[in-house]
């Protein structure tokens, strides 16, 4: 049989396996098997590519060994709390790989030799530009998430004008390149540099709490870059797999934006958190805070029939997920119904809290989504808010002047009692006062989340 036909046939099987794998991700019960099927599909595609004629095995195998070693070590060693950074880096590598592949094609086939067909030249630019901005943008996102650089939004005057100028320059260079693709590589290199700058500029204005949107978007870009590279080398499987990833990232982006009641443009261009300090002073809530001691909290929890934990990014920072699970188990043994209510944008990436709690052995059937718990909130005796703030702020529902007005929240204020674990009275990321803290049914339990919960566990055991 024709070798090429065989290779392409294998690609079709691989694609089917990717699709099956994604389909099985629709339930936690089948997800792991789905991932395995997807991985086998990838292995098949790689083997098929390896039987292509005339390829340079020496460099390919060397590259695969190096990359495989790094990938394996990273995947084994990364702590679950560091998953957002890890995903950010991988997004970046995906983008960079597509950029390099496009550059490789260009330098080997067209540069200084012959003009590429207009369509090929166009997709070359597309993969270089998307790949480049995915790479540099992801590296900034990584820096922000791992706190190597400040997570605060960084804005400068005329930012929008600079970005617009960059995009216009890109279009002009792109047209020039398409018209002269056989000539030297001046335009091409310039486009790479501009893509890298644009990636940096588009992520620096975005604040820490908006990272779930950014990571989802960069995830989408990394797929689109692979897709564009597929057009460059006329390879179906790159196009299909890239499109699947692109679609996945776009849907996640949409879900995240909806969970924050903001448009994508607003997230990307407004520098949320930097402009809000003024609003916070105006809407400042006056009232009395009712602090609770460890003993108070113990008696409240001990008497409760149902408890809902509401975790936020503070849980990840305090690394308190194991203690929370232990407390949950003690409460269950005590006859209490325990749930974990998770807001879609809690944490620094989509699904962040779920992974942390799963790592601590919380069964996934206890992880409840926002839309499921809200209608039943009145029946919850005690809602325990751990390191979450904006996602439980009732101002989102009733205060039109609040910057987060309209954002769906976990409506813990409707629970019979609310216990808020918090370090201090500092407002959350968005700098907005939280009326919840002053409610009659709210008790504040100050201190480090991990130490606070450890104390409660001791109280229960003692």
């Amino acid at each position: 049989m024709d070798l090429n036909l065989l290779i392409n046939f294998s690609y079709i099987i691989s694609t089917v396996m990717f699709i099956l794998g994604l389909k099985m991700l629709s339930s936690p019960a089948t997800a792991r098997k789905g991932n395995m099927i997807s991985a086998i599909g990838m292995l098949l595609a790689i083997c098929a590519a390896l039987v292509s004629q005339g390829i340079d095995y020496k460099w390919i195998l060397l590259g695969m060994a190096v990359g495989g070693g790094i990938g394996l070590a990273a995947a084994r060693l990364v702590a679950m709390t560091a998953m957002p950074e890890m995903v950010a880096i991988f997004n970046g590598f995906g983008g960079a790989a597509s950029l390099l592949l496009a550059w490789f094609e260009y330098s080997g086939k067209y540069q200084g030799l012959e003009s590429a067909p207009a369509f090929t030249a166009f997709v070359l630019i597309l993969s270089v530009f998307i790949g480049g901005m995915t790479f540099s943008g992801s590296m900034i996102a990584y820096g922000k998430l791992s706190e190597k650089i400040s997570g605060k939004p960084y804005l400068f005057a005329g930012q929008h004008i600079v970005n617009s100028l960059i995009l216009i320059t890109t279009v002009i260079l792109g047209v020039l390149f398409v018209l002269n693709s056989g000539a030297g590589n001046g335009y091409f290199i310039l486009l790479i540099v501009i893509a890298l700058i644009f990636g940096v500029l588009s992520v620096i204005p975005i604040g820490g709490a908006d990272m779930p949107v950014v990571i989802a978007l960069l995830n989408s870009y990394s797929g689109l870059a692979a897709c564009a590279a597929g057009f460059v080398i006329h390879n179906n499987i790159l196009i299909v797999a890239g499109a699947l990833v692109g679609a996945s990232g776009i849907i996640l982006t949409k879900i995240m934006c909806k969970a924050m009641n903001r448009s994508l443009a607003n997230v990307l261009f407004s520098g949320f958190g930097s402009t809000k300090t003024a609003a916070a002073g105006k809407g400042a809530q006056q009232g009395e805070i009712k602090p609770a001691s460890q003993e108070d909290v113990y008696y409240i929890l001990e008497a409760a029939d149902s408890v809902a934990f509401v975790p936020g990014y503070g849980l990840a920072v305090a690394q308190a997920q194991h203690q929370v699970r232990e407390l949950g188990e003690i409460l269950e043994a005590n006859g209490t119904d325990v749930q974990y209510a998770i807001h879609p944008v809690a944490g620094r990436m989509p699904g962040h809290m779920n992974v942390l709690l799963a790592e601590a052995n919380v069964p996934y059937d206890q992880l409840i989504e926002m839309d499921e718990i809200n209608p039943n909130m009145e029946t919850v005796d005690v809602a325990v808010v751990i390191g979450a703030n904006d996602v439980v702020n009732p101002a989102a529902l009733d205060d039109e002047s609040s910057p987060i007005y309209g954002m769906p929240i976990i409506e813990v204020h409707r629970a019979k009692t609310v216990i808020v674990l918090k370090r201090s009275m500092n407002p959350g990321f968005a700098g907005i006062e939280n009326a919840l803290f002053f409610n009659d049914n709210t008790r504040m339990y100050f201190g480090d989340a991990k130490a606070s919960i450890t104390g409660l566990i001791a109280e229960f055991k003692g």
């Binding site: 994604l22 340079d56 460099w59 790094i70 790989a97 592949l101 590279a229 299909v240 849907i251 699904g351």
Partner: protein, 95 residues
């Protein structure tokens, strides 16, 4: 393969992607992202098939670089996703 045909494939794949992903529960959004990271490492297949013999130095650097980065994505993405999904357990220790 013509651009029209490739675009046709692209459009179908995007629709399929939307259908598939909208069924993924929010509990699994992190594994979905790391898993799709692995899939975007598909660039590896393209890089392997394109890295023909007799490249100049620049070609070797670019091609091998693409292979390394894409392999990190593939291996790292699948392994970390598997590790994560292994932690999602049902109640009463059932699997």
């Amino acid at each position: 393969m013509t651009p029209v045909f490739l675009t046709f494939v692209l459009v179908l794949a995007i629709f399929l992607g939307f259908e598939l992903i909208s069924k993924v529960p929010s509990t699994l959004h992190t594994p979905l992202m790391s898993g799709s990271n692995a899939i975007s490492g598909i660039t590896l297949v393209g890089a392997i098939a394109s890295l023909q013999l007799n490249q100049n130095t620049l070609g070797i650097i670019l091609g091998t670089g693409a292979v390394i980065l894409a392999t990190i994505n593939v291996v790292g993405g699948y392994v970390v996703t598997d590790r994560m999904l292994g932690m999602f357990k049902k109640k009463e220790g059932g699997k």
